[in-house]
């Protein structure tokens, strides 16, 4: 499967986004969980707690995006393979 012509594979695209989301969490923990007094707040929650709260909703939206991205990516890959097979037969 040639990834170059079809654009980035959804597997690696979404794995990258997931890694970035994890990395944001790690960075927030390192810079914001050192003491009780100096934590950045979002309402009543520290930014770490707030990020943990909203993250599963972000992930749910990403799972929908991934599902449709994969479907269209696979459809286009199938089309490409069919096209190449036809050209091979004609040749």
């Amino acid at each position: 499967m040639s990834d170059k012509k079809q654009g980035i594979s959804p597997i690696w695209g979404m794995t990258g986004i997931a890694a970035i989301l994890g990395l944001i969490h790690i960075i927030l923990v390192i810079i914001n969980a050192r003491d009780l007094q100096n934590q950045i707040m979002v309402g009543k929650m520290s930014v770490v707690t707030f990020y943990l709260f909203i993250n599963p909703y972000i992930v749910w939206i990403l799972s929908i995006v991934y599902y449709y991205w994969t479907k269209s990516w696979e459809a286009s890959a199938r089309q490409k393979i069919e096209h190449e097979t036809k050209r091979g037969v004609q040749a």
Binding site: A18, L36, Q39, T49, Y57, W60
Partner: protein, 488 residues
């Protein structure tokens, strides 16, 4: 005795037993029916069942206790970690494993790498880790029954254990799936309902949160007493666990096709935040408002149900907690059954007739289930910590071998076995040596497993019987025939 609550629970028990009996004939048709529900489950049912399998007694009791004692961020961390793990399963493992057409993870390993060891090692690890995981589940059932229904702890554990073993053994994956549909919906509603009632009683979410801060000023802050390594390690362990644990991954094998396997995850990830975000926010806050001096933090959910709910609803919500226990323990029980009867017995007697393999599976589920129930009568103390040990162990054993086995053709028999055993042993050593902060053991075990898999694979020659082409087959989006079906 609380007659109304107990009657509600009896209705629940009769319902799950009826599902088991109802599916007993269908499940006995073939091993495909028994272990993977004939690969015919649609995305909604499969997704709800997956969430039920994922949410254990720890989700409703232990993690609320964790939030109560260590701050809300620790409870929410379980939601982010497991949610991200399920998302990674959707991306990395769901479709390829469904395309593989096998029944179990050990069977996939055996097909990919050949050799008895690659089937036996993961099967034995499944048996050890899940055995440890089922015991705190049964312990949770006993605790809840004792405090909420005033039933004797031992009697409660025995009844819950026997009912679960019965419906799993007679109905196989069919009854596990359909009971998990009820259980998944019940348990997702449980914590949200308890928390919402608490908020209504206090006068709204804003007032509940304000009162919680007055009771414990640091409740919504990141806990600075915990090492960042604890946060990061716990998160990574949860992600790797949910991506690769066999009792969740088996749901990929039950889906109709690879698209259904991926769509199931959307349903799961929709239900997931109900318990793990809004549910925890409300329940942990309410626990601090109503019970600011709790000695046993794991009891917070139970005490809230007891305080806030009218008897019939308390019975239904107890059913929710029992559902969390039974769904996870049931999924693990069928995974252990498959590991012993399909994988270990499959290696010892590869030519055994289908009927014999099926009956062996049923017998194994009875034996393992009864032994786990008896062990739960005198159980370990804190549910959350024990689950922490088991989830890290599974993550260290399976995550990298599975991912590299599926995506890297050069990965070979020696490398994958070295990584699986090395990851598990390193995790256990780190856990008991207490050289690192709590939950951080995985940060050593995973790199060790990675070095072993990659290093040993590059330094050794693959066995001639290995099947690196399987990597292409399970990623072949044009094929309608799975690799397992091709192999017969």
């Amino acid at each position: 005795m609380k007659v109304v609550e107990i009657s509600t629970i009896l209705v629940y028990m009769v319902a799950v037993l009826a599902i088991g009996i109802g599916y007993s004939r269908i499940a006995s048709r073939s091993t495909t029916d028994y272990w993977v529900a004939n690969r015919s489950i649609g995305p909604f049912v499969n997704g709800v069942a997956l969430e039920a399998a994922n949410s254990s007694a720890a989700a409703l009791l232990g993690f609320v206790g964790l939030g109560y004692s260590m701050g809300l961020s620790m409870a929410l961390l379980t939601g982010m970690g497991s949610g991200m793990g399920l998302f990674m399963a959707q991306i990395l493992t769901a479709a390829p494993l469904r395309r593989s057409g096998y029944y179990t993870i050990p069977e996939f390993f055996a097909a990919r790498f050949s050799g008895k060891l690659t089937r036996l090692v993961p099967a034995i690890l499944v048996i050890i880790w899940y055995w440890a995981y089922i015991i705190p589940q049964m312990n949770g059932a006993g605790l809840v029954a004792e405090h909420l229904l005033n039933i004797n702890y031992v009697a409660a554990v025995l009844v819950a254990g026997l009912v679960m073993v019965f419906y799993v053994s007679v109905g196989g994956m069919w009854s596990v799936t359909w009971t998990e549909l009820i259980q998944g919906l019940l348990l997702s509603l449980t914590i949200v309902t308890v928390g919402t009632l608490a908020a209504v009683k206090i006068g709204g979410i804003g007032i509940l949160m304000q009162k919680a801060v007055e009771a414990r000023p640091d409740i919504y802050l990141a806990n600075p007493k915990l090492s960042p390594l604890t946060y990061i390690g716990f998160y990574i362990a949860l992600v790797c666990f949910c991506t690769s644990t066999p009792h969740i991954i088996m749901r990929c094998f039950t889906a109709k096709d690879s698209n259904t396997a991926r769509a199931s995850m959307i349903v799961t990830l929709f239900l997931h935040p109900m318990t793990y975000t809004i549910g925890y926010l409300l329940t942990v806050s309410a626990a601090w408002v109503f019970f600011p001096n709790l000695e046993k933090a794991d009891m917070a959910t139970i005490l809230l149900v007891d305080k806030l709910m009218p008897p019939v609803f308390a019975g239904i919500l107890f059913g929710g907690i029992l559902s969390a226990v039974m769904s996870t323990a049931g999924s693990m029980l069928i995974s252990i059954g498959a590991a012993i009867a399909h994988d270990v017995y499959g290696v010892i007697k590869p030519d055994a007739p289908e009927k014999v393999r099926l009956n062996t599976g049923k017998a194994v589920i009875w034996i393992v289930g009864i032994l786990a129930t008896l062990a739960a009568i005198k159980p370990p103390h804190v549910i959350g910590v024990l689950v922490g040990l088991v989830l890290g162990g599974i993550a260290a054993s399976f995550f990298l071998p599975l991912i590299l086995g599926m995506y890297w053709k050069r990965c070979n028999y020696y490398g994958v076995n070295a990584g699986m055993i090395g990851g598990a042993v390193t995790y256990i050593i780190m856990y008991f040596s207490k050289a690192l902060p709590k939950f951080a053991e995985i940060l050593v075990a995973l790199p060790v497993a990675l070095v072993l898999i990659v290093g040993v694979s590059l330094l050794t020659k693959p066995l001639p019987t290995e099947n690196p082409e399987l990597v292409d087959k399970i990623h072949d989006i044009t094929s309608n025939v799975s690799a397992g079906e091709l192999a017969g």
